[in-house]
């Protein structure tokens, strides 16, 4: 079995209007090389589901987003994403499902468990209910009879994740201490594609101290794209931290996206790594202390 693919093969599985889940969290472990490939493509009208960072910003500036299902969009160290803000303030994102970040987890978990919804109290008393008319209530069938919010399943067509290490069969390792909700994204999707810093032989997974970092099963993974530096400018702990200098340049580019597009997006992956200072630079970016 060999699931090694390139970005063209990943893009061939994505069509206009699909619902795409993106792993990571804010400015952490985002599959940015795949995101840039989507920005370059003809794809349009995507529904994006994510704990948002510069992935959302880039896709907004590249006019790929029809609907956003999200709790926040933040670059962490820079609280707000200028590209996302510009798109929102121009009314460009036609449909929004803005929910609590825990409700987002619940929606992904419901999809992962093949359930129509999961109940929660989270959202009561806020505009999350008022703005999302599709979210309905459910009454507990037990003696308490409590009325709860039925957070609907967020079913995904494709999930895109970035991991530290993978093999050609789709086994993956996330070495960072927080795997975020990547496992749920993989389970909630019909197809999952991962980019990986490093490809190793399956035999190297055999040590228990390595295998504990395997966060979901290989049968969920449909393609593995070898992409060193693939999360840049977001972090890929412990390989490299958030490239704050690049995120500043990115932030300033919301009003001059054509220039950023030429310089960093409309080029090959190798050219991108050269443009940001090479892998030696990327690997030298230290971990941000919050």
């Amino acid at each position: 079995m060999n699931k090694i693919v390139n970005t063209n093969q990943i893009l061939s599985q994505i069509t206009d209007g699909m619902t795409i889940g993106i792993g990571g969290w804010g400015a952490r472990r985002k599959p940015m090389s795949i995101i840039r490939a989507i920005c370059k493509s003809d794809l349009k009208d995507l529904t994006i589901v994510t704990y948002g960072g510069p992935d959302v910003g880039l896709l907004c500036s590249a006019k790929k987003v029809k609907k956003l299902i999200f709790g926040f969009v933040s670059l962490d160290i820079i609280p707000l994403d200028s590209h996302f803000r510009k798109a929102r303030q121009a009314g460009e994102i036609k449909e929004l499902m803005e929910i609590d970040e825990g409700m987002l987890q619940w929606g992904l978990r419901a999809a992962a468990m093949r359930l129509p919804f999961l109940p929660t109290r989270v959202g009561f008393g806020t505009d999350v209910l008022g703005k999302n008319k599709e979210i309905k209530l459910v009454k507990s069938p037990y003696d308490d009879g409590e009325e709860l919010i039925a957070m609907p399943a967020i079913n995904l067509d494709v999930s895109l994740l970035h991991v530290n290490t993978a093999d050609e069969k789709g086994n993956t390792l996330i070495y960072g201490p927080d795997p975020f909700f990547d496992d749920l994204f993989a389970r909630a999707a019909k197809q999952t594609f991962v980019s990986a810093e490093q490809i190793i032989k399956t035999s190297e997974f055999k040590k228990a101290e390595v295998a504990v970092y395997n966060r979901f099963e290989r049968n969920l993974v449909h393609g593995v794209f070898h992409s060193e530096g693939g999360a840049h400018p977001t972090s890929c702990d412990p390989n490299y931290g958030i490239d704050i200098a690049h995120l500043k340049e990115y932030s300033q580019a919301s009003d001059s996206f054509d220039d950023y597009y030429k310089k960093f997006i409309n080029i090959s992956n190798n050219e991108y790594l050269d443009a940001v200072g090479g892998m030696s630079h990327v690997n030298s970016i230290s971990k941000t202390i919050f």
Binding site: E101, F124, F290
Partner: protein, 250 residues
Amino acid sequence: MSTSSTTLAELCISIAAKAWQKDGEILATGIGLIPRLAVGLSKLHFNKDLLMTDGEAFLIDQPISLGQKNPISSAEGLMTYSRVFDLLWSGHRHAMVSPTQIDKYAQMNISCIGEYQNPKVQLLGVRGFPGNSICHKNSVFIPNHSKKVFVENEVDMVSSLGFNNNIYKPNVGIVVTNLCVFDFNGNKNSLRLLSIHPGVSLDEIEENTGFEFEIFSESISEIPTKTELKLIRNILDPSGIRENIFGAKK
């Protein structure tokens, strides 16, 4: 230590730190610089039983000094985002947050300002506010007390539950601003003045608050003790980053 040599940032950190004083063994989360330093001071001085995180993925036994390079050296456990949700849904947390808007019902907004489909100012999104406000206690830090923050009408996008809900009530702790200290324990959970910072007048507070509040006390806010100042200056923030929060105003 006299009042004049204590900065506004230090005053706010000291007052805010007392928010967790009687909380026992719960997770204290301070979002933003001053709340984060306040959690650290609380852990060192007011409530040693608190759980706190490095802001990334670990529970830590000792606060991380601002600028410290190796936070993992003080880890005592793991606190991934998934575990944060698990923990907060059962109520074992008290956060201090800085909303962009807050109203007379204690509803808060960090999502956007203006009309929803085409907002004047897009902010973060509701983030964890709906879940936090219905599950656990939240205190508030406002660095720029004004009518833009304490809004006359309801907040533009209600991100957290307020006291105007018929079924659920939020648990709101203290509200520390650059001018004064409030809580929401007035009549019918209205905003209530607890103390005024040195050099600030009641008029100034009224002029900068978009709705009426009760006056429980006009006493002067308690300034930090020598021990607290030492912990802030020598341990928690030795390079003085806290002073950037209020710009040039000290």
